[in-house]
């Protein structure tokens, strides 16, 4: 029997000899942060992931928050997604609305991606790339904060990776403070980013032009008109052809899926429907949208932009507006339109607006009319718009005609303080709204976690 005891003991010894490392398991299919952010290639991956944040936001909730909220389209489905989107469209949304918390979360997650990458910039050994990465990350971070400040106003200004405890100490920074940070980031980006990338494979990365156009929009939103004029001027023909942006003769070509990244596009969120995960579905509100009939009636009979709002049938269920027309890739079952964030027509209209705000002048007519003429609509004469106010109204109206469903309208209405009237007079369900509704409520979950109304209050009215 002794030999059995010997065998059994041998088994125990064998089993326990591996004890030390037994509980330490390194995941084989998951990368951990321990081994990442170590070199230029890692940072390149991190920058790419920062761009990737844009796809979900611009293809998703932004349309609800920035377009359906305005007067161009409306939501007809009170039951869909627990009514969350419908409630935003109809100004019924409260702080617990899931669209708000998920968008707030996506934006701060995108900011965290930028912040984390920025905090590891030192590992980049190529000086040129290091500057470029910083410019790209700060451009993206500025874009995110610009969206945050326009949606919610004051918000936590996070500029480096933070822990939950640190976050709980951070109140909502004031609007001015956030704009100052946005401007600073964009100024850095303007200086850091190239006009174009030498490598064709980099097409789609933010450029110096992207940063300038965005900075111009920021200044305009802030009513810093002269600064807007000076930065936007760089992008217009006035300063020559440094950036090579131009209006395409045919407006439909701007959005064509066979003509992506054309000279009118300054910055776009990019997609490729043939690559799994890189396409998008048909955006909810752009499939047979319930459009404001007044908008449709405002186009002149010759205006080529009206047709961009007409739908074309892909099949019985998919009838996108022509602006976002694409056919499904049958393998990935997705569409591939890029989502244009900044384009040259926008720059021209912003420039015209900024010029007019700095003082009524006929010089501004050229930029406004360039957009009208391209759309085959008769240019405004000075007699049509004899003063600053009439010009201001004309630019706003033109922006609506030029860029419906491009996530501009709601912010334009707020920026110009015309949202109340516009929604009251909409050809869709008329809504009576109040000024406090220019901003969304801060997600209730965030208020609940912070539990500190003195530094983290809810927006007034909610």
């Amino acid at each position: 029997m002794k030999k059995y005891i010997f065998i059994l003991s041998a088994i125990i010894v064998t089993l326990f000899s591996c004890k030390k490392s037994f509980l330490t398991i390194v995941p084989q299919s998951l990368a951990t942060n321990v081994a990442f952010y170590k070199n230029t290639a890692d940072l390149n991956n991190a920058v790419t992931a920062s761009y990737a944040s844009l796809q979900g936001m611009y293809g998703g909730n932004f349309i609800t928050l920035m377009e359906a909220r305005g007067d161009n389209i409306e939501d007809l489905n009170p039951g869909g997604n627990a009514g969350t989107e419908y409630n935003i469209d109809r100004f019924l949304a409260k702080a617990d609305n899931a669209v708000l918390s998920s968008t707030w979360g996506s934006l701060y997650n995108a900011i965290d991606r930028c912040n984390t990458a920025l905090s590891h910039l030192d590992v980049v050994d190529n000086a040129t790339l290091k500057v470029q990465f910083e410019g790209e990350l700060k451009f993206l971070r500025a874009l995110h904060y610009f969206n945050i400040v326009r949606l919610w106003g004051a918000a936590p200004l996070v500029q480096k990776p933070i822990t939950a405890d640190e976050a709980k100490q951070m109140g909502r920074s004031g609007v001015n403070e956030i704009y100052a940070a946005i401007e600073a980031d964009l100024v850095t980006a303007v200086n850091a980013l190239p006009v174009t990338y030498g490598n064709a494979g980099d097409l789609g990365r933010a450029t110096q032009g992207s940063a300038k156009a965005l900075l111009g929009k920021v200044y305009l939103t802030e009513s810093k008109y002269s600064q807007a004029v000076s930065i936007l001027k760089d992008l217009t023909p006035v300063t020559g052809n440094t950036y090579n942006y131009a209006l395409l003769p045919n407006v439909a070509d701007v959005f064509s899926v066979t003509n992506k990244m054309n000279p009118e596009v300054i910055f776009a969120v990019r997609y490729n429907k043939t690559i799994a995960g890189q396409g998008h579905g048909l955006p909810t509100y752009f499939n047979q949208p319930a459009l404001d009939p007044n908008l449709m009636n405002d186009y002149s009979t010759t205006d080529t932009r009206r047709n961009l709002l007409v739908t074309t049938t892909i099949d019985a269920n998919n009838k996108p507006v022509n602006k976002y027309y694409d056919t499904f890739d049958l393998n990935t079952k997705s569409l591939g339109n890029d989502f244009i964030v900044l384009r040259y027509a926008d720059v021209l209209l912003m420039y015209a607006e900024a010029l007019n705000e700095t003082g009524y002048s006929t010089a501004a007519f050229d930029y406004l009319n360039a957009v009208r003429s391209r759309a085959r609509t008769s240019p405004y004469l000075v007699t049509d718009l004899p003063d600053q106010t009439s010009f201001r109204n004309a630019v706003l109206k033109e922006r609506r005609l030029e860029m419906p469903l491009e996530l501009q309208r709601w912010f334009d209405l707020v920026r110009t303080n015309t949202a109340i009237a516009a929604l009251k007079n909409s050809g869709l369900t008329p809504l009576n709204i109040q000024t406090f509704q220019y901003l969304y409520p801060v997600p209730q979950s965030e208020i609940d976690i912070m539990k500190n109304p003195s530094i983290f209050p809810q927006n007034p009215g909610y």
Binding site: G79, A82, N115, T116, G204, N272, I314
Partner: protein, 1186 residues
């Protein structure tokens, strides 16, 4: 078969008085005076007394010193009882003698004392175990002297262990002996004698001597409660000595009935164990909850331990599909199932015990001649319920109303008027839409007109009839058991073939088991091998009917009756896929079910080998090694004949997928056990180490671009859309110790400690310690209760213990990176650029979720065993919850996984049973009841967690309330008319007469998202179960029922089929809809409107429903054929039975199955989104023994 001689009918100890009666006819009358009840009581007391641990001592070995002067015989006997472990049993009239005796003995053996005491009083005695039966001495029978032979042999129990102290006597005579420590006996008997072998707790056995000189006997345990052995984890214990809360179910209760799986056999049988079958798909997943939900984020499944091997918690089988973790176990192989419910019992499993432990023990071979048995059944399944949907004519009217109301609403908002008779062209022109637009909600679909005109003979497809079917199922298990002195085996094979009640779904499995045991002196070896091969045809049924999941059940309810199943050419009709006029575009559910292929092959191997060596007497060392290997692969194919989900035309580009997972989980255990009895002190100690590790390798490939349907494996594809391959591992290193002590066999104590180290936790918190202690007191063994007529046995129990929960995924403590790719470059075809970012913050302090629990229990047997009750009350507190605590989103994360928060579960469990025997009629009733109250005590700083599920319904988990409450609006009926709207203070924006009214919860005068409130919970107030068995001669009848009371279900599938929006077909509830102020309908159903106004479509109490139900689980009528008949046919025994499963369900629930829950997340329970209905089944079966 000669070996199994006919057993004496109803052999029991009581009947052993019979020889006396036979020989002493004059005493019969006296004996008759002993009432039947006394006899039963006597039996019970004997059984109770004898059931205690410890083998009988030989009468001639125990020596006593005793003296008595002028005492009764009874009193002297009592003295002997006090001084020894022997107990005397005697018919009271036999020793009622008033005669006082004087007696003394110094260091004499009990045998000598008894000889002295009894013989002179003409009394005889006989030892049986620790009990000594005293009776009138029998006069020597005047029989002729026959030739006597020396017979010897060994008496063993069911697992081959020797039985010392068993009695062997010659039938009809008074010659008897008792087996020794090794179970051996010797006796002289004549060839014509019949030997009767008896031991308490075992059925007696008779054997004709014949020419044999060696007669070895293997006694079978009698089915007596008190003798029940309970598996307690790393060991067993007699039921009597158990001090914790353990519910058990024996193999008999499972084997005689048809059950497709272990879980089915458990339903409703055990107090505090709720077995839910939320999905009726054959072979589909189950949910077992032991004493409520103690967790929020971590898994809530109990730990399953099969023959000592803890099963893996890896149950990922790809999207939508969960395989039942117990599917590999054939119910016919089960010897017993024990559920460790309280923390003290489960603490021996430490970090995995928080949700309870389900221990399954399979049958093992016995030292007996080959026993072959066959268990088979064949049955037909059908749906338990059909939802009452509208037919084509009714549906057409709903569409007509709904689209007209949308039209009128729009006209009204524009200050226009119109008529229901306006044709589509008029409508379009009035509302200024393009004349070609056929998608608008205010147009009338032309399909409805023939129905509105009541044209006869139109298509009116009942889609439920089309997707449901009567489905056959069959199961056959053949088992062989037997063995020699040294080696015993149990071998079984099983085949199960179950078609699903939804077309093209089903489950088939082939299983086999080999259990081997061998003894070589002090060394015991054993092996259990279980192999199972399952084939599943899966159909997605849950979720939205029209998204990419293409769910069959929701789809069938929503589908329009206007469309036929097939086209005239036999192809499936996908007309509704392209239906215009704002109508639903669901895919043909029959087409989906029949055309899509989703086949899973699963192989599972469960093995355990062990060696046990007795180092010195009662000190045993055991080493065992177990593996749990699973391998599944799942192939899917979506053929070209099924329209693509975006373009919806055929032929589509076929897509296919291949998901595979290989998992290997091994366990090594080393335990040392020691047993010792010193006088009245009994000890049992256990110590051990265990190691467990799992490695799984899962892959998922989805591909597209198949040119046609000819090749359906991925080599036929042209491009891959998804490809993942993932290796996951975890390990667990544990030490465990347990000490059990009893004093006088009635004061019982047990304490255990387990230390677990797990790879799943942070570097700082790798180890956890789980102590427990329990105590029991067998009150009925105390003198003051010993002779109670009311209480025949009573045990009080108390326990405290700490357990853990480690079901949180393998790498949750690490800060991991996730891929997030983007495209750069070429304008129209940019190239993929890989992106990576940190997606979890990591937490090196992540540790165990701990549950500490107190349990108080009582086991009581009243009225001489007629009524038995077990009551347990418990209070569990789970702390350090593994909680995904919401953090400020400004960190970039929404949650951090931390140990924070507390949940409590308090409850009561009650089991009542009675057993009555009246001649050949016996009746057993068991009733169980359990109530659990769940309460969140702390959520780590926040007061509540709001969760959204299935994109449409909110849940609120709030401190002070149970986990996972529905959070919805409160519906208060429909507005009767405009005056009703005007008179209701709280306004629903946009509501019109016929729309829903809601309660103004926050009292601000407007109904909106702020009026959502907690409106119910899926957790029941109590659950109950009943099972009854009636036996009369050859017939047996069993009935079991199960019920749940006081829970609420969110039937969100109704948002489509009960919405009166008319895009999907509706239930006949829609016939009671509001039509006009003068025709207000049932006051519950809102008006028809294609574009619902107000908040009709938002989740409210309208979509909630009571989930209380009472279900008759099973009615079985069995017939055991008479022995004579069977023997003639050369068989051992034959029972045939007929069973109805789930024949009746009493419930107000309006969906298919109140046992439903789409989400496994504890925060979002109780959603019905088109679950696979439960089947009812009628079947015929047989249990045949050769």
């Amino acid at each position: 078969m000669n070996f199994l001689l006919k057993q004496k009918k109803q052999a029991s100890y009581c009947q052993n008085f019979n020889p006396i009666r036979e020989k002493n006819g004059d005493k019969i009358k006296q004996l008759m005076r002993i009432s039947a009840l006394t006899a039963i009581f006597l039996c019970m007391s004997i059984v109770a007394l004898m059931a205690r641990e410890g083998r009988a001592q030989a009468l001639d070995k125990v020596k006593l010193t005793i003296s008595a002067s002028n005492e009764s015989l009874r009193s002297v006997l009592q003295k002997i009882e006090k001084l020894s472990s022997f107990r005397f049993v005697y018919p009271s009239d036999k020793i009622n003698s008033k005669q006082l005796i004087r007696f003394s003995a110094t260091n004499l053996s009990v045998a000598q004392i008894l000889d002295k005491l009894l013989h002179e009083r003409s009394l005889s005695y006989q030892q049986i175990g620790d009990n000594i039966l005293i009776d009138r001495a029998v006069e020597k029978p005047a029989v002729k002297i026959r030739k006597q032979t020396r017979i010897s042999g060994k008496i063993t129990d069911e697992i081959g262990k020797p039985i010392p102290g068993a009695s062997i006597k010659i039938k009809g005579g008074n010659k008897a002996t008792v087996s020794d420590e090794q179970g051996n006996y010797q006796l002289s008997a004549a060839e014509s004698d019949v030997l009767v072998f008896m031991f308490i707790g075992y059925d007696s056995f008779e054997q004709l001597v014949g020419s044999k000189t060696v007669i070895n006997v293997n006694l079978k345990p009698s089915s007596n409660q008190m003798q029940e052995v309970v598996v307690i984890g790393y060991g067993t214990q007699n039921r009597k000595d158990v001090t914790t809360s353990v519910s058990s179910i024996s193999g008999d209760q499972i084997n005689n009935f048809a059950a497709t799986g272990v879980d089915k056999a458990l339903v409703g049988k055990l107090a505090g164990v709720q077995v839910l079958q939320p999905n009726g798909a054959p072979g589909g997943g189950i949910s077992i909850k032991v004493r409520g939900t103690g967790t929020i984020t971590a898994g809530s499944n109990p730990l399953y331990v099969v023959d000592g091997v803890a099963l893996s918690d890896n149950d990922d089988n790809g999207p939508g599909f969960k395989i039942n973790p117990l599917s590999m176990i054939n119910p016919n192989d089960i010897e017993s199932i024990d559920v460790l419910k309280d923390a003290s019992a489960a603490a021996i499993y430490g970090s995995r015990g928080s949700n309870g432990v389900v221990i399954i023990t399979t049958k093992r071979g016995k030292k007996e001649k080959l026993a072959i048995s066959l268990n088979s059944y064949y049955g037909i399944q059908s749906t338990t319920k059909k939802i009452d949907m509208m037919d084509g004519y009714e549906y057409a009217n709903l569409i007509y109303d709904a689209h007209n109301n949308t039209y009128f609403d729009l006209l009204q908002s524009k200050g226009l008027t119109g008529s229901a008779t306006d044709n589509n062209a008029v409508r379009l022109s009035k509302l200024g839409a393009a004349a070609t637009n056929t998608s608008l909600a205010y147009l009338l679909p032309p399909e409805i007109f023939p129905y509105l005109n009541n044209e006869p003979g139109l298509t009116s497809t009942d889609w439920q009839d089309e997707i449901f079917r009567q489905a056959p199922m069959q199961s056959h298990t053949l088992s062989l058991a037997g063995g020699s002195d040294k080696v015993q085996f149990y071998i079984s094979g099983n085949y199960l073939d179950q078609d699903g009640i939804v077309i093209n779904s089903g489950y088939k499995k082939y299983g086999g088991r080999i259990n081997l045991d061998a003894q070589f002196g002090k060394l015991k070896l054993g092996a259990s091998i279980n192999y199972n091969f399952g084939i599943y045809n899966y159909l997605p049924t849950e979720g939205r009917f029209n998204d990419n999941n293409e769910n069959i059940i929701g789809g069938a309810l929503a589908a329009s009756p206007f469309f036929s199943v097939t086209n005239p050419d036999g192809s499936y009709n996908f007309g509704q896929y392209n239906w215009q006029y704002s109508q639903s575009n669901g895919a043909n559910p029959v087409g989906l079910a029949m055309l899509k292929k989703d086949e899973t092959f699963e192989k599972k191997l469960l093995t355990n080998v062990f060696a046990e060596y007795e180092i010195i007497k009662d000190l045993k060392y055991k080493v065992s090694f177990g593996t749990n290997i699973s391998d599944f692969n799942r192939s899917t194919f979506r053929p070209s004949t099924l329209p693509n989900t975006v373009t919806r035309v055929v032929p589509s580009i076929p897509t296919g997928g291949y998901i595979a997972n290989q998992a290997t989980n091994w366990t090594a255990e080393n335990t040392l056990t020691y047993k010792k009895r010193i006088g009245e002190h009994s000890f049992q100690a256990l110590g051990g180490f265990t190691l467990q590790k799992e490695r799984s390798n899962a892959s998922n490939i989805q591909a597209t671009g198949f040119p046609n349907d000819l090749v359906q494996t991925l080599n036929g594809a042209t491009s891959v859309t998804t490809f993942t391959s993932e290796i996951k591992e975890w390990s667990l290193l544990s030490g465990l110790a347990r000490l059990q002590y009893s004093f006088k066999d009635r004061y019982l104590f047990s304490a255990a400690l387990r230390a677990d180290g797990s790879s799943r936790f942070g570097a700082n918190t790798k180890y956890g310690y789980f102590p427990s202690a329990s105590a029991g007191w067998i009150v009925s063994d105390e003198d003051f209760l010993k002779n109670s007529n009311l209480i025949s046995s009573l045990k009080l129990r108390a326990s405290y213990g700490v357990t853990g929960n480690f079901q949180i995924g393998n790498y949750a403590y690490l800060a991991t990176l996730a891929a997030s790719n983007y495209v750069f470059g070429s304008p129209n075809s940019p190239a993929l650029s890989p992106g990576l970012y940190q997606n979890t913050p990591g937490n090196q302090d992540l540790g165990w979720e701990k549950t500490s629990a107190i349990n108080l229990g009582a086991d009581i047997s009243l009225f001489k065993g007629l009524l038995n009750a077990t009551v347990d009350v418990y209070s569990n507190k789970t702390s350090d919850l593994l909680l995904n605590v919401p953090v400020p989103l400004s960190t970039g994360y929404s949650t951090n996984l931390v140990n924070i928060g507390k949940v409590s579960n308090k409850g009561i469990e009650l089991t009542l049973s009675s057993k009555q025997q009246m001649g050949s009629f016996s009746l057993t009733n068991t009733l169980n009841y359990s109530a659990n109250r769940n309460k969140v005590l702390d959520l780590g700083g926040v007061n509540s967690i709001m969760t959204q599920a299935q994109s449409v319904i909110y849940f609120m988990t709030e401190v002070g309330k149970p986990v996972g409450n529905y959070y919805t609006l409160v519906n208060t009926g429909v507005y009767k008319d405009q005056a009703d709207i005007d008179n209701t203070p709280a306004k629903v924006p946009g509501a019109k007469p016929g729309d829903f009214k809601f309660a103004d919860i926050n009292g601000d005068g407007i109904i909106d998202g702020n009026d959502k409130t907690i409106t119910g919970n899926y957790m029941p107030k109590f659950t109950y179960g009943y099972s009854g068995q009636l036996q009369y001669k050859m017939l047996d009848l069993a009935v079991s029922a199960q019920g749940v009371y006081g829970n609420t279900i969110a039937n969100i599938a109704q948002r489509h089929y009960n919405s009166t929006e008319s895009y999907a077909n509706n239930t006949t509830d829609a016939l009671g809809r509001w039509v006009s102020p003068t025709q207000t309908g049932n006051g519950i159903t809102p008006r028809a409107n294609r574009s619902a106004t107000g908040l009709n479509a938002q989740m409210s109490t309208y979509h909630l429903s009571s989930g209380s139900y009472l279900r008759i689980r099973e009615i079985t009528l069995g017939l055991t054929l008479p022995d004579k008949m069977i023997k003639k046919a050369g068989l051992g025994s034959l029972r045939v039975y007929a069973t109805a499963q789930n024949p009746f369900t009493f419930t107000k629930y309006n969906g298919y199955n109140p046992e439903v829950s789409v989400d496994t997340n504890p925060l979002t329970p109780g959603i019905d989104y088109g679950s696979y209905p439960l089947a009812k089944m009628f079947l015929l079966g047989l249990n045949l023994k050769f």
